[in-house]
C-alpha cells in the first residue's frame, strides 16, 4: 500500500536528532511491548509480513504521531482482534478505555492473486549484470517495493536466493517463494540531476517487482541494451 510508512525521499521531517547515552528502552512498557511481540511472533500468532502490514495500516496521521513501540502496540492489538484471540471489549475493559478507543481493525485487502502451490526452488529469472527496471506497482495490500524506486532502471548485483513473497504472505495468500536480488540504482536515476554522480542506492527486491529493462516502456523509444 502507498502508505506514510514508505518514507524514502519524503521531505519535511527535519534534521536527524540524536540522543546522547541513549538507553536500549525508554520506559518499562517499551520493554514489555518488545518482548510481547517477539514472543507472539515466535509462537506464530502472525508472520512478520502480517505484523509489518498491521503497522502500515495505522491511519497516516496517527502513524506519524505515534512512537515506534506505540505503533507496535496498535499493530499487535489489531492482529489479536482480527485473529479473534481477544475482543475489542476485552482490550478496552482491561485498560479502562471506551471500546471505541481501541484500535480499529481495518480489514486487510490484497490485490495480488493467490498463487497456489509454487515450486519451492523456483528458477532465477535474472543474474548478476542484468539490467532491470523496478515495476510501477501500486499494491493496495502489503509490499516491500518502495515507492521511490518504482519505474527506475537498475542492475542486478547479486542473487540472495529464494524468499517468501511478502505481498502474498502478509495476507495469508501463500508463500509464493521467489528470488530476491540486490539491485543497484544510480542515485541520479532515482533522484535526478542534483544527486551525486557516484552515489548509488542498493535495494533488495523480489523477482515479481522487477522486469527486464528491454521489456520496459523506455526501451520502446530506444534499442534494447543487454549487459551481455
Amino acid at each position: 500500500m502507498n502508505g506514510v510508512h514508505d518514507m524514502g525521499g519524503m521531505h519535511g521531517f527535519g534534521a536527524v536528532a540524536r540522543e546522547a547515552n541513549e538507553p536500549v528502552f525508554h520506559a518499562d512498557w517499551e520493554k514489555r511491548m518488545f518482548a510481547l511481540v517477539s514472543s507472539l511472533l515466535g509462537r506464530g500468532l502472525a508472520n512478520i509480513d502480517e505484523f509489518r502490514h498491521a503497522i502500515e495500516r495505522i491511519p497516516p496521521a496517527r502513524y506519524l504521531a505515534s512512537s515506534y513501540y506505540e505503533r507496535w502496540l496498535e499493530a499487535v492489538e489489531t492482529l489479536l482482534v482480527e485473529k479473534a484471540v481477544l475482543t475489542r471489549d476485552q482490550l478496552a475493559q482491561a485498560s479502562g478505555r471506551a471500546c471505541g478507543d481501541v484500535a480499529p481493525a481495518t480489514s486487510p485487502r490484497a490485490d495480488v492473486a493467490s498463487p497456489g502451490d509454487s515450486p519451492s526452488k523456483p528458477r532465477a529469472r535474472f543474474r548478476a549484470g542484468d539490467r532491470v527496471r523496478a515495476r510501477n506497482l501500486n499494491r493496495i495490500g502489503h509490499t516491500r517495493l518502495p515507492r521511490y524506486v518504482r519505474g527506475s532502471r537498475g542492475v542486478i548485483i547479486r542473487d540472495w536466493g529464494v524468499f517468501v513473497f511478502p505481498d502474498t504472505n502478509a495476507h495469508r495468500l501463500g508463500a509464493k517463494p521467489q528470488h530476491v536480488y540486490s539491485v543497484a540504482f544510480a542515485a541520479r536515476e532515482v533522484w535526478g540531476k542534483n544527486a551525486h554522480p557516484r552515489d548509488k542506492v542498493l535495494i533488495d527486491l523480489w523477482e515479481d517487482y522487477l522486469e527486464a529493462e528491454r521489456d520496459s516502456r523506455m526501451s520502446a523509444t530506444r534499442p534494447a541494451r543487454r549487459s551481455r
Binding site: R198, L202, L205
Partner: protein, 203 residues
C-alpha cells in the same frame, strides 16, 4: 521529530501494554518470565559490542575477513552471534573510495545480533526519509564530510537481508590487539554514519 515520547491516543501506552500482557498471560499465550528473559537478552547481552568484535576480528584476521565478506551469517556465527533478524547477514566494507550506509526506509530493519536494537534516530522519520535521497547531508549532520570522489552506497534493507558496515581500520592502530580494537569500534561506524576515529599517538 517523530514524536517519540508522547501519547497519541490520550491513553497511556503503559496501561494498555500492562492490560495486554495480563490478558495474554491469562490465556496462556505468553509467560511473564519468558518475557523477562527476552528483555534481559536485548538490554544486557546483545548489542554493538558484538559487532565491534566482528569488525576487530576482520581487521586482524585476513582469513576471517574473507569468510565474513563471502558469508557473513556463517562467519558471525563462528563468534557465537546469531538469532532473530540475523538469519541473512551481509557485511559491506568501507574503503578509501566507497562508503556504505545502512537504512530501512519502510520500517526499521536492523541487524539485531550484531548491533542490538536500533537507536531512536535510526527509527526516526528524518533518517528513514533522507538517508536514501540525501545521504551526504545526513552524514554531515553526524559530523562526517565525505570527499567528492568517494562513492556512497546506501543499502535500503527492504527484504530479510541485514547489513553491517565494516569500517576502515584507522591509522595508528597497527600495534593494537583485537581486544583493544574492539573498544574503538562504534555502533555509528557499523551503520555507516561515522568513521572509526584515528588513535592519537602515545607520547
Amino acid at each position: 521529530m517523530s514524536g517519540d515520547h508522547h501519547d497519541a491516543f490520550g491513553q497511556g501506552p503503559a496501561l494498555r501494554v500492562k492490560a495486554l500482557e495480563a490478558l495474554l498471560t491469562e490465556k496462556g499465550l505468553v509467560n511473564p518470565q519468558a518475557l523477562d528473559a527476552i528483555v534481559d537478552t536485548y538490554e544486557n547481552r546483545v548489542g554493538p559490542r558484538n559487532g565491534a568484535r566482528v569488525v576487530a576480528r576482520a581487521w586482524v584476521d585476513p582469513e576471517f575477513r574473507k569468510r565474513l565478506l563471502e558469508n557473513a551469517t556463517a562467519a558471525i556465527g563462528e563468534l557465537g552471534y546469531g538469532g532473530p533478524e540475523g538469519g541473512h547477514l551481509v557485511a559491506v566494507e568501507n574503503t578509501a573510495r566507497v562508503h556504505n550506509l545502512i537504512v530501512c526506509t519502510l520500517c526499521s530493519c536492523y541487524p539485531w545480533p550484531v548491533l542490538g536494537l536500533p537507536p531512536v534516530w535510526y527509527k526516526s522519520f528524518a533518517y528513514r526519509s533522507r538517508a536514501v535521497s540525501e545521504p551526504r547531508a545526513v552524514l554531515r549532520e553526524f559530523g562526517l564530510e565525505l570527499a567528492g570522489d568517494v562513492a556512497i552506497v546506501v543499502w535500503d534493507s527492504s527484504a530479510e537481508i541485514r547489513y553491517i558496515v565494516i569500517p576502515e581500520r584507522p591509522p595508528g592502530t597497527d600495534a593494537m590487539s583485537e581486544d583493544e580494537l574492539v573498544q574503538l569500534v562504534t555502533r555509528d561506524a557499523m551503520v555507516g554514519v561515522a568513521k572509526v576515529n584515528p588513535v592519537a599517538r602515545p607520547r
